[in-house]
Each structure stands twice: as structure tokens, then as C-alpha cells.
Symmetry: C2
């Protein structure tokens, strides 16, 4: 193999592959990057069996071939190069990375013992990249990071007609997004539970694409855009769809329209006074919300935020970080808070943006502190 | 006390005081910020007994007074405010931070039980702020972070005529800077060992000042600029001045002039191949330096950097991070490497910059790896 390519192009692709692969594994082959050159250019790929990534990039191919090299030094070396062009050439038992004056020689690993990089499963449909990014950030943020209960680390993806529903909950808050969806003709309807961390990472990488294709079968989910594709094992556990549906049946006592950023600012300032339990109180008053905190060391806070109030007065206590996360999802917009009786969840919604994403965020209130 | 002030002015001053004070202490009084208002404006101050900081700021003083409040919530609240102006007013047992629509009430601590904020000791002389910053960054970086050997966590400061000598070593490398110095008439000559971490932090804060005054007595060092001052307890242990002097007596076998950034780039790229001991080899060749690394997993690297060589050929092995630190201190400049026999240190120097700072950096080479 012997290729010449733009350093920055290869460096960013190698970084994406390296980011996906495990840092320290017993089997160095699984920490390897597959580099394949043929008439179409080069493909950089990797797989730790659970996740796979495959990125095609332009290159001048002097002679074709495929090698497996350690991903981390390959990515690090390309990133650190100042030279605009780089040559990758097999020399004996080494892949040489050459620039004028410098040679970096990576050992060739046994490419035949690599498990291979699976192609994404069957095409299910397409979403706009900007809508996927806008929806994935808040939804993935509401997923749990605790692997002890894997279903709550996932995003529930379900296509219904021309909408894709994305939902995640860690049991204390829940984010639901509905995104415009183009089902693939003759494809199976998408209905899976995918790892939230993988979707969040991939959505960021796909942000500059126009359309993102979603692929799925019984075991895997795949996303592809341009010449790039990523696939990942699904989470197996059944999701409590029925309970989620009940939570979304709201019975509102009080609806409040408020500028999300103004309320987020007040909540951010009250966080200093959130006490040992990290809670703030939101009281619905005439034409305003009052955000209050109280902490034995720091003192007390009380801030009023202008709002349009419809319905009964209500006072709710929230985990300050859950409320802050929820409001961040509506940044720059007017948000509607729907408050329900007692400890039933408070629902945040807004008019859909230009990207057609409809977002609903539920935060479960806490028992008021006894201070 | 009742004052009105610009929020950003107070916020940055409060952040500086809070940064200096210990985060969690048994005695909340030592984590307190002293706020004093009189006809001249406000003074924000704090002291954890070891360090003291005192910052004077403009404010409209409606009524004077002095209070002690918890520093962290005070700084956090001011930083989070959007309102351009803020009012600070004592209300009963609270200091109220007020903006339109919001009130944050911090408990008043017992100002009489505070140890007080010591003024800096006697004036020793002045340095230009830009020279102090340029010298402190590399010198403080060469100090040890290991508190088990306190003398190596310090910067040795000694005034000699119109130069201030600053020196630090962690025993594996040493940085020496000589900075233009204006001794105070009739002042004692400066000759102290000061904590490197404090000087590094303070130099950053003083960067925008024109001149920085240095103060010292037998126990403390102080720095002041504009209306701000900081003081800190000195490190008590005697410094091995005699051994340091011997290290600076160089007996050069080989002198190499090279662009510091080009060599730093090659060293950065070789770091991937630095192996378990984190070492790279620098070989002096005809008209170039060759930087080499070797790692059992990552492979080998070999890069040539153009250089002007005078004297014998030599090959030295260095800790890659020490060599990278040393070269960073000469960023953007031509650096001269003076190589000595065997395991005697390699000396890096350069022509002084516009700020008049003369910098010398010594790195002790390692035994070559046996691979």
C-alpha cells in the first residue's frame, strides 16, 4: 500500500475512529485501525465488536492494499503533523507515515485476525442532520449514565408515519422529541432501544451532513451520512413503553409561559443556594415565577421572572440540575410549563423550531424541603 | 453598609479573593471575604492566614461599614448576575445582594474573629509586569509540585544590582530568569524563597498592570500593583545555592542553534513514540538535529530539524515532557542548546526579548535506553 493524502482530512478521520475504539484492551487487534486503499481512495475503519465505524476519504493511491495499525499512535501522529500532505507506505513490517524530514513507523498488526467492520444493517429511513442534532442533545442528556440499569441508558427510537419519536428517561426526568422522518420505501418500521452515548457522539459528528440515514435490524442500529457510517449493538432489555405513555397523559392545573433563558438565569443563580439536596423552589405568582433557594451556609435567594400565568397558583420544588438541563433544551425560546397536581411531573414544551423538532421535557418535582 | 457598584468589577474581584481562599475549612471565618466600604470605595479582602489578598475597587458608597460573608456564594452569585449594576446592603443579619427582581441574602459572619488581612511587608523594588509574567511562567513550571520537599516547590528570588534573579528546580530540570529590577531606595536587598504556585497565580493576575512592586521581610513576600496586593508566607528551608551555582558553570562540547518551535514540533510528534520511560533521543548531526523515539507498541519515529551546529557531535536522551517544557519557554525564538559531556545537563538559552528577560533552562539527560 502506498498513498498520498491531505494531512488534515486523514487526521480528523483517524481521530474519529480512535475515539470510538477502546483505549486499553488485552487484544491489540481490537485497538487497531484498518486502513484500506483502492481506486476510490482510502477507508479508515475500526471495530471493538460492539461498535463499528467506517470512514471513506479521498487520497492519491499509488498502490492499493489493506493494513491494520495501532489506532492511537496513528491518530496522534497525524494530528501532530504540520506538513499539509502526508504519505502512507508499507515498508517491510511497518506502515511508514512520511513527511519531508520525518518518518513514523507503525508496526503492522495481523489484519486477518481482525473481526472486520460490519456494514450498517438495512436502511429504515432518513432524518435531517440539524433536526437529529437538535433532538439528540436534550434526549441523550435525560438518559441515565448508570450501566446497572441498561434500559435507562438508552434512547427509544420509534418511527410513526412521517415522525421519528426519540425518548429517554433516567426515571427522574424524561425528554421526548418528535423529528420529521422519511421512511425508506419497503423498509421495516424503526422500533429500537439504542445506546444514548453512541447516538450523542455520532449526532455531533454527523452535524455538518444534510441528511442522516438510519439503519436497523434485530441486533444493531446504524447511522450513515456521506461516506461515513457507524453502527452499534442495540440495548436488549424491553422498555416500559406503557408507563411512559401514562406519564405523557397530562392533567394540567396551571400553565405558565416564560422566556426560557430568563428562567434559566434565575435557576442558575439560585443553584448557589440549593442546599444539601440541590433543590430550588418555583412559585407561580401573579404575572411572575419566583425562584427561591435556601442553604444553611450560603443564605437565601429570591428572584422574580416575568411570566404569563393561566390556571391555579402552584409551588414546586425541583432538583436544580434537572430543571437547568430542561430549560437549556429550550434555550432562546419561549417555554410553556404545565404544572400538575402534587408530585406529578411538570411538563415543559415549546412551539417547534424551524427544524421541525417537537420537544417535551418532564421533570418530577421533589417533596418540599422541611427547613 | 450600603453600596452600589458595577457587577463585573465586583465579580472579578470576588473571584480573585475566592480563588485564594481554601474551599472547605473547618472554620468558616477563614473562608470568609471581608467587604469594607468607605469614602474611597470598597475593599474586598481575604486571608487563610498563609495567604492574604486585598483588592480596592470603585463603588458608590451610600453608607460605610465592614462585613464578613462566605466568599464562595458571594463570588458565585456576582458572577452569575446578568444585571450590569448591583447593590450590596446590610439588612439585619444578612448582606443582601440586590438587582432588579432578585435578592440574595448571605449570612454575616463575625468580622471581629477574622485574623485580619495583613498589608504587604516593606517595599523591595519594582519589575515590569510583562517581564514578571514572561519569567514566572517557565520558572514556576520548573518547580516541583511535591510538597514533601518544600524547597523545590519554591522560586528563589534574589536582587543583584539592576537585575532580579528568579530560579526554580525540581532536581531534573532548572529554569533561571534574570529580569530588569528597580531596587527601592534604602530598601533591604530582596533574597527569599517564595511558593512558586502563588507567584504563578499572582503574575497572571498582575499581567495587565504596568509595574509590579515586590515586598518582603523575613517571613512574607508581597506583590502589589494598582490597588491590589497579595502576600504569602515564605518557604523557610535554606536553598542549595552553592550546588545551583555549580550547575550553571557550563563546559560546552557542542552548541546548536535551532528554531525553538520547529524542534518543539518534532519533540511533540516523537512523544507518541517515547516508550514506557517517556524518553526521546536528540542526535546532533551535520546541519540538523535528529529527534527519535521508539515504543514497543507504537513503533519508531525519526525526524530531522535544520540547525546550526558548532562543536562535537553528541547524542542525548531526554524526558520528553521536560524537553517540551523547556522549548515552550523559548516559543517563537531561536534557541541555543549547549550540550555537555556525559550526563551533565543540557543548557538552553536565547537572546533576551524586548522585555529584557534573560532565560536559561537546564535539562538533565537520561541514560540512553537499552532496547
Amino acid at each position: 500500500m502506498d498513498v498520498t493524502a491531505t494531512t488534515s482530512t486523514l487526521a480528523s478521520a483517524a481521530a474519529e475512529v480512535a475515539r470510538l475504539l477502546p483505549g486499553r484492551v488485552l487484544d491489540p487487534v481490537l485497538a487497531g485501525l484498518v486502513l484500506r486503499a483502492d481506486d476510490d481512495g482510502v477507508v479508515l475503519a475500526g471495530s471493538d465488536r460492539e461498535h463499528s465505524v467506517r470512514l471513506a476519504r479521498q487520497a492519491i493511491v499509488h498502490s492499493s492494499g489493506a493494513v491494520l495499525v495501532p489506532a492511537k499512535p496513528f491518530a496522534e501522529t497525524l494530528r501532530a503533523l504540520d506538513a499539509p500532505e502526508v504519505r502512507l507506505v508499507v515498508e517491510g513490517s511497518r506502515l511508514a507515515i512520511r513527511t519531508p524530514g520525518a518518518r513514523f513507523a507503525l508496526p503492522l498488526l495481523d489484519v486477518d485476525s481482525h473481526p472486520g467492520v460490519s456494514l450498517p444493517p438495512a436502511l429504515a429511513g432518513h432524518v435531517r442532520a440539524d433536526a437529529l442534532v437538535a433532538a439528540t442533545a436534550p434526549v441523550a442528556g435525560a438518559a441515565s449514565r448508570d450501566d446497572a440499569l441498561p434500559i435507562f441508558t438508552g434512547i427509544r427510537l420509534r418511527a410513526e408515519g412521517d415522525r421519528l419519536m426519540m425518548l429517554a428517561t433516567d426515571r427522574y426526568r424524561m425528554a421526548v422529541a418528535s423529528v420529521p422522518w422519511q421512511a425508506a420505501p419497503g423498509g421495516e418500521p424503526l422500533d429500537v432501544l439504542a445506546p444514548a452515548s453512541v447516538l450523542a457522539e455520532v449526532a455531533k459528528q454527523a452535524a455538518r451532513a444534510g441528511l442522516v440515514a438510519l439503519h436497523a435490524d434485530a441486533d444493531r442500529i446504524g447511522l450513515s451520512w456521506g461516506d461515513d457510517s457507524v453502527s452499534s449493538a442495540l440495548l436488549a432489555s424491553p422498555f416500559p413503553d406503557e408507563r411512559v405513555r401514562k406519564l405523557l397523559d397530562t392533567n394540567t392545573d396551571c400553565a405558565v409561559d416564560v422566556d426560557a433563558d430568563s428562567l434559566a438565569g434565575a435557576v442558575r443563580r439560585a443553584a448557589t443556594y440549593a442546599g444539601a439536596h440541590g433543590t430550588v423552589t418555583v412559585q407561580v405568582d401573579d404575572g411572575e415565577l419566583r425562584v427561591r433557594g435556601s442553604d444553611p451556609q450560603a443564605g437565601e435567594s429570591d428572584e422574580a421572572v416575568k411570566a404569563t400565568v393561566n390556571g391555579d397558583r402552584a409551588t414546586k420544588t425541583f432538583q436544580v440540575r434537572y430543571l437547568a438541563d430542561a430549560l437549556r433544551a429550550f434555550a432562546g425560546r419561549e417555554v410553556r410549563l404545565l404544572m400538575q397536581e402534587g408530585l406529578r411531573s411538570t411538563v415543559l414544551t415549546a412551539e417547534p423550531g424551524d427544524d421541525g423538532v417537537e420537544l417535551t421535557y418532564l421533570v418530577v418535582p421533589m417533596r418540599p424541603p422541611t427547613r
